[in-house]
């Protein structure tokens, strides 16, 4: 078997976020966000902690309903969770500990009632893509943190979703592993051809991965402040002059939001950022 992925079936999708606002009781988390995500695009949502980027992602997944506005994927309105929109969680607690790596990856196809043979073939195909074929019969707790996140990625891709949602998937990893995983994510995305919305607070990570970076303002009532297109050749070098220039621009842009967020949490004063 080859690790070649059928790009036709791993289709991307056009996603439209139209004036979406999200409230939890009296708390205004997200305010009137409108954004179009193209098929096959890699979009990063970048912003300070607690700015509502995960909330927006959760609305895309269908876990959190939008209070106002609407989200649609390929013109179908989002009205709840769906296997068309796969989610990679920050914490690998999302893996099923009692299933082997292969059974974890085959979970979606199994729920759809595919044959055992088809399940195993799909699982092995995507385990190959994330470089875990040798570990198919291990259990999640026998793997390192980085490997567990690979399992999560393979599990979502094996379901052939139209769009992959990733909630700071490398946030809990050590710096070295995170770097390796970013390179791997870039390769996996190019080979699978899926649409990705990737939440992160790491500027460098966004530069390595994104076609476009949407910088969000600090919450409450978070919105999108600026959108940057990243036209650098892949795989990207974080230390190239262009990348460094973009990094500085993003840091200035986001720095203001981080200070606002800290003030909001009572952790910094007005003078701090001057």
């Amino acid at each position: 078997m080859t690790t070649e992925i059928d790009r036709e079936s791993a289709r991307g999708a056009t996603t439209t976020i139209d004036g979406v606002g999200i409230r939890f009781g009296s708390y205004h988390a997200v305010d009137a966000i409108s954004l179009d995500i193209e098929a096959g695009e890699f979009l990063c949502l970048l912003g300070p902690s607690g700015c509502g980027k995960s909330t927006l992602l959760s609305a895309l997944a269908g876990f959190t309903p939008a209070t106002v506005g609407a989200i649609s994927v390929d013109d179908e309105p989002v009205a709840g969770p769906s296997p068309e929109r796969g989610m990679v969680f920050q914490n690998s607690d999302a893996l099923f500990d009692w299933l082997t790596v292969r059974q974890n990856v085959a979970f979606g196809p199994r729920m759809r009632g595919q044959s055992r043979k088809a399940q195993a073939a799909l699982a092995d195909e995507y385990l190959g893509l994330v470089g875990l074929r040798k570990f198919a019969d291990k259990f999640p707790d026998q793997l390192s943190g980085g490997m567990r996140q690979r399992v999560q990625i393979a599990r979502v891709l094996a379901n052939r979703p139209r769009i992959v949602l990733m909630d700071e998937p490398f946030g809990a990893l050590d710096a070295q592993t995170r770097q390796v995983m970013q390179q791997e994510m870039d390769r996996i995305w190019r080979e699978s051809g899926c649409t990705v919305v990737f939440v992160t607070h790491d500027i460098g990570e966004a530069i390595i991965l994104a076609d476009r970076i949407a910088v969000m303002t600090a919450g409450p009532a978070a919105s999108i402040k600026n959108i940057y297109s990243v036209d650098l050749p892949r795989p990207r070098d974080e230390t190239s002059p262009e990348a460094i220039a973009l990094h500085q621009k993003l840091r200035q842009d986001i720095g203001h939001e981080v200070r606002t967020a800290l003030r909001e949490q009572g952790l910094a004063t007005e003078e701090d950022g001057r």
Binding site: P81, D97, M111, S144, M147, N159
Partner: protein, 277 residues
Amino acid sequence: MTSVGTVASKDSTTAPRARRRRSDALSGRLRTVGMYMLSIAIGVGVWQLVAMRYGSALVASPAQTLVAAKDLAADGTLLNSVIASSRRILIGWGLGLVVGVPIGLLMGRLTVIRQLLDPYIEFFRFIPPVAFVTLAVVWLGIGEASKVVLIFYTSVFIVTLNTIAGVLSINESKLRAATSLGASRWQILRFIVLPATVPHIVTGARLAMGNSFLTIVSAEIVAAQVGLGALIWTSRNYGRIDWVFVGIITLGILGFVFDRILRVVASRVLRRYGVKL
């Protein structure tokens, strides 16, 4: 392709180290068994002293108890008692699991069911089975049913409560992951909630087993011909303190053996569900 990082638990430990670890484990186990033996020897010694102090009318000595046990074993009373009580415990406890686990899963998952059943669980779990002995006999007669139902009663609430606790402690991201991978509500119950709750269910089963042993004696108070509880009660009527001692000690040993079997089987068969006992 880039490297895939390291496996957390490596099998490739060098042979001598593995051997040393095995011999460490063996000597550790021998030590445990040795301490158990010592503890039992001290216990029997204290028992002997107490028996000598108070006399055989009040306390049967270890030797007298052993003789009584031999007598009771010889005419088959002891074995029949063990079998009769074990049967009642296993059936009642088994029914408690079969009913308690599904109810616990449903109560954990569906707020409506939880709200409907919670008052009853919270009411009945404070009423000891012995309070129902009379009613059980009046309603169900003096046959096996009344005893089995009392054991069931003492098992089912603790199993239900532990199962609910297990369901409520499932990591939310597991449930979300399963939903967004396309699992239906029923599939989530069957393939996520049940396996994720197994360690709590096993804990509930062990506690229920303990409760069953506490209850069997009261269940056999009335009109049981055989059984360890019946043995203890009838011995009292004959003034045979030594038989009472045999009944009590057999009950304790039987409970220990049942729990051991449960632990070994559960940790072997259910290891992949994270059962560590």
